[in-house]
Symmetry: C2
Subunit: 322 residues, 2 copies
């Protein structure tokens, strides 16, 4: 543990992991914990005990420190359901939606998710996020140019494409690309060639297959993925795709289609500056996809949860303004 | 059993069912059998015994009758693998690809499937069918106008859209719509609202939700399904879709996207005459979808396997020309 003065206990408590940080007033990490105790995997579903295990030592040393958590811990299946804040939303609206609970050892504030309602004018469908809003605020706090206007992409199980403008989250879309990949691999006929071949593709073969997936998604144009998905199987049967590389090809098709769809949805509007937020390997794949769709200059930003939690804590008055 | 003179033992032996008919020289059904013994469900995987149980009585009464089967029974996982015939293909090419096996009680000819190879010029991806080619030949035999030029749609687990021209199967696409629906319902987050609500939607509510799915697929236009799929969940969370009707909405989105994609793939070409081949309930849903995409006049054709098997048997010389 660092000697600097701690000012916030911050948590990102999602579906699969629980991350916690002890932060100083600059948002520097003085200490951290990382447990595989997302809300679906919290031992015995006992959120209070998991919380105490993770932050108890910090709490004992610093009884008066505020504590703030974002993510699915504030959902119906989490510790306590925090009502969504409506989009468009800025940091103040999100900070105003905090709900504070008694954990048994202290008080913990939970960040609300965002709900977007049907918008007949823009054609936007209802949408929800819980956890990503904090990353978006973190990016906007760290990159003022992006906060003016940008399309921020958070790839993952449920990828989010969020349009931010004048430090507000304006509108967003969810692409279930990661979940689609997982269910097709595990439960559809498309996963069989790879499952039955008992060997791994080389990195070069995987990369080539991934590129072919991107290319086919691009070539399909507005016809989209519907008539292409089965090619994961038929290209294997036709002898032009190795079974071991077929999942990399599937990944290319799905990520390619996500990028094609999201850029097509912009219509005639010029594409705003783009940034990818997430882990390096996944962002690299999205950068490749984006460059095929003529978006070559895309900033990659690693996890922004800490910045976002600092930003919300300041707006909510949990810690002093910067 | 009818008294007319039988001329062919015909089988459509697919993945989930085995249907067999005793036909006269006009293709009229003199007797039939229907068993749930598709190649994935054949008792003990004993194709010879299933065959004998189904056709044994006919065979005893008519030792010299030819026997012909189409479908997945001729695939690698079936009784005997019959090599694919390359597309484009007509009835003669398909008849020339028959493979005859010794069943223990007689000889049985198996219809080949069709393989389409990569076509850089049209952008067509490799594709395969096995069983549908027989239905296509049946439709072309019964509807000479469609045989000149048509887009024949066979909805199902793996829907096929086949362009036929001058009595030839020219090109085809597979849309995994039925399988996608099944895996998303059973294994993704989209199936949960319906699974957890423990009640059925009324027919009217299901129909309304299905229509909303079609409408949203249509409204998405070239952006396609990628950013819409999650709305099966988010519309429930936003209170605008009843959990019990959410699967009907998913079905509308998926069928809508299939129709959007297939019609978009035509590009600037005028849409050829369309016909749907399959069971009434499913074809009705596709007809609704097609009418939203400005294809209101679509013929529906019930099962055409019998006509197709007759047609192939004639071309192959198993029975006398008509």
């Amino acid at each position: 543990m660092n000697d600097a003065s701690p000012c916030l206990i911050a948590l990102d408590w999602g579906t699969s992991t629980l991350r916690a940080w002890l932060l100083d007033d600059q948002g520097r990490v003085l200490d951290s914990r990382h447990e595989p105790w997302g809300i679906l995997h919290t031992p015995e579903g006992d959120f209070a005990r998991a919380y105490q295990t993770v932050v108890g030592e910090w709490r004992d040393a610093h009884p008066d420190l505020p504590a703030l958590a974002c993510g699915m811990i504030g959902s119906r299946g989490g510790w306590h359901e925090v009502p969504y804040v409506d989009a468009p939303a800025d940091a103040d609206a999100i900070a105003a939606g905090l709900v504070t609970i008694d954990t048994g050892i202290d008080h913990l504030s939970l960040v609300p998710g965002i709900m977007q309602h049907n918008n007949a004018e823009t054609g936007a469908l209802p949408n929800v996020m819980r956890g990503e809003e904090t990353q978006l605020l973190g990016v906007m706090a760290r990159y003022p140019a992006l906060a003016r206007k940008a399309l921020l992409i958070m790839p993952g199980t449920h990828s989010k494409w969020a349009l931010v403008e004048r430090e507000r989250l304006v509108e967003f879309t969810t692409h279930m690309t990661g979940e689609l990949y997982a269910v097709l691999r595990e439960h559809s006929i498309l996963g069989r060639p790879a499952a039955e071949c008992h060997e791994d593709a080389t990195d070069a073969a995987s990369q080539k297959a991934f590129d072919e997936g991107l290319k086919n998604a691009f070539d399909a144009g507005s016809a989209g993925l519907s008539g292409q998905l089965f090619s994961v199987r038929s290209r294997v049967l036709a002898g032009e795709l190795a079974p071991a590389a077929s999942l990399a090809y599937l990944s290319g098709l799905l990520i390619g289609e996500e990028v094609r769809s999201a850029t097509a949805a912009l219509g005639d509007q010029p594409c705003p500056p783009l940034a990818l937020i997430g882990d390096d390997a996944l962002c690299r794949r999205y950068r490749q996809a984006l460059s095929r769709f003529e978006c070559p200059d895309v900033e990659t930003i690693n996890d922004a949860s800490v910045s976002g939690l600092m930003s919300i804590a300041r707006r909510a008055g949990l810690i002093a303004p910067a």
